[in-house]
Amino acid sequence: MRAIISVVGKDTVGILARVSSLCASCQVNVVDVTQTILQDMFAMVMMVDISKMTIPFAEFSERAADYGKEAGLVIHVMHEDIFNSMHNI
């Protein structure tokens, strides 16, 4: 089971590190990362494996959003299926 973490906001030091360590602390494995910086806006899409996640999905999602608020970023954690069903037949 996989999920997509999307991060959008002003680029600062340690965004990737912070999000990765949140994943690590919950046994969420990072499978792939794509990131771009447009002017000074940071946009990252991270695909993670949540099959061994130690906390409920909702709690993980809340923790990520909380960190986002703290750091002035918009972070969403969404199950992979929403993208698959919307964009693939």
Binding site: D32, S61, V77, M78, H79, I82, F83, M86, H87
Partner: protein
């Protein structure tokens, strides 16, 4: 990995273009709750509805978290209350209060099914139920009511139409202190559908399973935004193709959410209603889609053609995205729930007559229209009869949900709040249709051939 652009597109649709799931509606049959004793009947209904829908709201919230998509309403629809009432007799208000109690216990936004189907005539309890509607909608908050007065196969029951003019007016009068909200929770149908997830018309037909999950999608903002990126000289074939592609994506969300909810609740998945349902929020308007197609303002000549184009493309795109499509399926045009319609009505560019023409080519009917408080019951009946005739002759569902603004005139407004929005009082035609309405009887079913 899923394409990054696709991911960002989905996120943008949800975050900026108001993509959401309008409703997850659980349909619950009350046929096994009918009892000759009304008290016992109400107890059985309360027990069954609360047992079936116990986890509905919680499940909806879990799905919202998992996929990051808002599910605006969680609702329940039940078998038309006219059926248990026919068995038990007694005061119909007891059923209204029972359903309201169910809504409170389950935490849903609306409960629909204070309904009766009288397209051909009245059976036991039907008239009592209709007479009780104004009071039922006054003593409850979450209850919605619908009455089917006509169908293509049965014709129009003009006795019921005559009654409903009075009932609509009375519903508004009893709730005059709350902006006449009673009438906003009452809809009069022709060709009512049995699996509608959308309010106020939701009820669980007798041909439906014991319990099922139906989903209504939304997303006018997404369609408008997609169209805004088309060049202004793109032809209407391109417009239609783009609407189809966008409707496909929106409907896939509904299909995913419905399937997930049905698995989690262990209840069969019924249908996705391919509705483009607006909200009063800026950027979530069906009128703005029509304007994006190239109309200066909704209501001008060309509006009916643009809406027909939109409605057809939404269905074509949506049908392939879902395994079962049903409900009302099409673009909704509720005036008070749509920022663009409100603006057009305020400045007089959108009239009831134009809206009536629009209902011939789109999903429902004259919906959430505020009319002057001095509109007579006969005039309201005549509005209902006109709309029912359009539905009957064209083999489509039509409905009337007009709100007489008691004590108010043109230039004033009613504000319902929430999804129901706010609307200006619109002009009506005061020429009297009284003799026609008082004739009563039935309009015979129309010919199904020689179609011109």
């Amino acid at each position: 990995m899923v394409n990054v652009n696709d991911i960002m597109e989905t996120i943008q649709m949800i975050q900026e273009e108001n993509l959401d799931i309008r409703t997850i509606t659980m349909g619950i049959s009350l046929l096994d709750c009918c009892d000759a004793d009304i008290k016992r009947s109400c107890e059985k209904i309360y027990e069954k509805v609360c047992r079936k829908a116990e986890h509905l709201v919680k499940t909806g919230e879990e799905i919202e978290m998992k996929y990051g998509i808002p599910i605006v309403n969680k609702r329940i629809s039940v078998t038309p209350i006219a059926i248990p009432l026919a068995v038990s007799g007694g005061n119909p208000l007891e059923y209204a209060l029972t359903l309201e109690k169910c809504a409170g216990t389950c935490g849903v936004n609306f409960i629909g099914g204070y309904s009766v189907l009288v397209q051909k005539g009245f059976s036991a309890g039907d008239k009592e139920l209709i007479e009780s509607i104004p009071e039922a909608l006054t003593v409850t908050e979450h209850l919605c009511s619908s009455v089917n007065v006509g169908s293509t196969r049965a014709g129009i029951n003009m006795d019921a139409v005559k009654m409903m003019g009075r009932i609509v007016k009375r519903s508004a009068e009893l709730t005059a202190q709350q902006d006449c909200i009673g009438a906003a929770k009452l809809v009069v149908f022709c060709n009512a559908v049995e699996d509608i997830p959308c309010m106020a018309g939701a009820f669980h037909g007798v041909g439906e399973p014991d319990c099922e999950i139906n989903v209504g999608v939304s997303g006018p903002g997404v369609v408008r935004s997609a169209l805004s990126k088309l060049p202004k000289d793109a032809d209407l074939t391109e417009v239609a193709d783009l609407v189809k592609r966008t409707a496909f994506k929106i409907t896939r969300m509904g299909q995913l959410v419905g399937r997930e909810a049905s698995q989690m609740l262990d209840v069969p998945f019924g249908i996705v209603d391919l509705s483009l349902a607006p909200t009063p929020a800026v950027g979530d308007s069906v009128a703005h889609i029509l304007e994006e197609m190239g109309l200066e303002m909704c209501g001008c000549h060309g509006t009916t053609a643009a809406l027909a184009r939109l409605n057809d493309a939404v269905k074509k795109g949506g049908v392939m995205a879902s395994s079962h499509v049903g409900g009302l399926s099409g673009a909704f045009i509720p005036v008070s729930e749509d920022a663009g319609m409100i603006d057009a009505a305020r400045c007089g560019n959108l009239s009831i007559e134009k809206l009536e023409a629009m209902t011939a080519v789109c999903s429902v009917g004259l919906d959430m229209i505020v009319i002057p408080g001095d509109t007579t019951p006969e005039m309201i009946s005549a509005i209902i009869a006109d709309e029912a005739a359009i539905g009957m002759v064209n083999s489509k569902t039509t409905a009337v949900r007009v709100i007489p603004a008691i004590g108010k005139q043109i230039g004033e407004e009613l504000s319902f709040g929430g999804l129901l929005g706010a609307g200006p009082v619109m002009k009506v035609n005061y020429t009297k249709p009284d003799i026609f309405i008082h004739r009563g009887g039935r309009i015979p079913a129309p010919l199904q051939s020689l179609k011109n």
